[in-house]
Amino acid sequence: MKKITFPQMGDMKIGLKALFAELGFEVVVPPKISKKTLDLGVKYGPEFACLPLKINLGNFIEALEKGANVIVMGGGCGPCRFGYYAEVQRAILEDLGYCFEMIVLEPNLLRDYQHIKKILGNVSLKRLYNGLKLALYKIYMIDNIYKLVLATRALEKKKGEIDSLYSSFLKKIDQVSSLKKIKALKDEYQNKIKENINDYQRDERLIIGIVGEIYLVLEPFVNLNIEEKLGELGVIVKRDIYMSSWLSHFLHLGNEMRQIKKAAEDYLDSFVGGHGLDSIGNTVRYARVGYDGVIQLAPFTCMPEIISQTILPSVSKKEKIPVLSLFFDEHTGDAGLQTRIEAFVDLLMRKKIYDGKLLEKGINYA
């Protein structure tokens, strides 16, 4: 019996679980990322690799221990080390004595399909189509609701209410398998969240845009829950990096990438790997729509984000938007992060008061 597993990244597991279950396979979801996952990854991963490789490796070991025997991992050929991670992980896991097969998804759908068929047996195209449709629909709807969570955490009526609504939404969407029911759930929770916010507070809240490397942006364990921390500090969070936006780009849907490239063109005019170009383009876009600040998240030693980090000071100066760059490695103590984001929020708030933006709206803080 083939038992399939994959890496953890944010809430991606719900979509992938739906896909493989629809194809008729048993799915072993890796345990939620914990210190144990991190310890395993750090112990067996190459020291100089970036954090995502290590966490993925920990996920795989934990899932293999739970009985998984097929690993699905992303590949690629962009100028970032990620493209080669699957091969490195395969070699490490084999050296550790695990028996498994690995499917590496490359940006070549036909070859991926043949690869899946070879390992998983004859999966009909129709079944694959249905599975993909269900998985994508779940992923898009989850992102839809999470976008709302980011925008409303700072406005909630009762502390913790929005997060508990979100987790009950995730639990429910995981259990349904018809598009109609998914849509109904999405509508239901959209309304529930909107009923739980104090809209009159919106004008006095800061808006911070998040840019950076996708894994660090999507996975709260590695970014030390920064989005929730910002919400607690009364900040509305916006971002354009989502699983769904990555998929849209991958499937050539929409024209967001064109807008990002256009916005970045004065500062960076070529693809530098990962989401480096997005970080620049989105920072410019956020400045121009009037967000108060931008936070860049990246794993320590991440080449694409190091490139954008060195360009961001001039973007910050010309576009007049404060930017805070944060690089993460295996530390789990969050006191240092808390100090930096509190200071950044203070800075933005004092600036907002000073610029008179609040007074214009009739809010007097003095």
Binding site: S34, N225, K317, F327, A335, G336, E342, A343, D346, L347
Partner: protein, 319 residues
């Protein structure tokens, strides 16, 4: 009638207390070594003030520094603020037209860019200790020179030698090699000061617009050798304020007063100087609820649990 405002900065190396009067002038300051025992040192500091001030004279209390939450629950602080904000506020209070703040403490160093009295940009070291006070402390101890005289040595140098500043391990081995070649101590110490300043400017100040007036604060500002190295490198005079070593505490006191005014509260939540009569204790345990194994810390005032932190989930939230 409240006439005084208390600021407490619990850092990794020192714990500083400042008492400000209603015109925001410093009337008292205490500088103690934290020595890894913040609870004991906070009590000690408050104890020193107990006989001079009455509870009813204290209008507000603010805490800052890496131990700000701990100090906050023990004292009953009105405001608990990060050290970047408090340092910026204190710098503007001392020199209203200040444009750049250089701050070097025990474990971390920061730069804050200020325009028109408002902080507009900042940076703080993250993974490196090469540019901090602890490293200087270590080197002073190794050379058996009291840390207070370390800076003077640098000023005596005629031709500073070059020391690698990228990393404290490189710096130390470079220093040892130069010593073994026969260079004088002042030359080496001046070289080390220059290396530290180079590292600071390369790491933290990269891409930042450093303009005068520049204010230099934090424990390391006592070091005249580092001050001179900054002036040489930047070509601008660097001001070390009289109360350079308690600026965080000053900022916390100012913000605490603002907070009381902003919330239109009549009374501070200060627990009173009697807190030194209580026995504060921390205990910790590892939660076994999930593989995260969170280290949960309990803070006790005598036998009463007053705060708890360290958990990633709400399991231990209720005190």
């Amino acid at each position: 009638m409240p006439r005084y405002y208390l600021g407490v900065d619990v850092g990794s190396v020192s714990t500083d207390i400042a008492v400000l009067d209603s015109s925001m002038k410093i009337v008292d300051k205490i500088y103690l070594r934290t020595k890894g025992q913040p609870l004991k040192v906070i009590s000690e500091g408050i104890n020193q003030l107990q006989d001079k001030y009455d509870n009813s004279e204290i209008g507000a209390v603010g805490t800052t520094g890496s131990g700000r939450n701990l100090a906050g629950v023990i004292l009953g602080a009105d405001v608990i603020k990060n050290e970047i904000t408090t340092h910026a506020v204190a710098a503007v209070h001392m020199i209203p037209d200040v444009k750049t703040v250089l701050e070097i403490g025990g474990q971390d160093s920061k730069i804050i860019i200020i325009r028109d009295g408002v902080a507009v940009d900042f940076a703080m070291n993250s993974v490196c200790a090469a540019g901090t006070g602890s490293f200087l402390d270590q080197q002073a101890a190794r050379l058996e020179i009291p840390i207070e005289e370390f800076g003077e040595y640098a000023l005596r140098a005629e031709a500073p030698v070059r020391i690698a500043g990228r990393c404290s391990v490189f710096a130390e081995s470079d220093m040892i090699h130069k010593q073994q070649l026969g260079h004088d101590l002042p030359e080496i110490i001046a070289g080390l000061s220059a290396a530290m300043v180079r590292n600071y400017l390369n790491n933290l100040a990269k891409g930042k617009d450093i303009k005068g007036p520049i204010i230099f604060q934090g424990g390391v500002a006592a070091n005249v050798g580092i001050k001179k190295a900054f002036e040489d490198e930047l070509g601008i005079d660097v001001i070390v304020p009289e109360n350079y070593n308690v600026m965080g505490a000053v900022g916390a006191a100012i913000l605490a007063r603002e907070e009381i005014a902003r919330l239109k509260r009549k009374k501070t939540s200060f627990k009173g100087f009697e807190i030194t009569d209580f026995n504060f204790k921390t205990t910790s345990f590892e939660c076994d609820g999930c593989p995260n194994c969170c280290e949960i810390v309990n803070i006790y005032q005598d036998s009463q649990l007053i705060a708890r932190w360290g958990a990633k989930c709400p399991r231990w939230e209720a005190v």
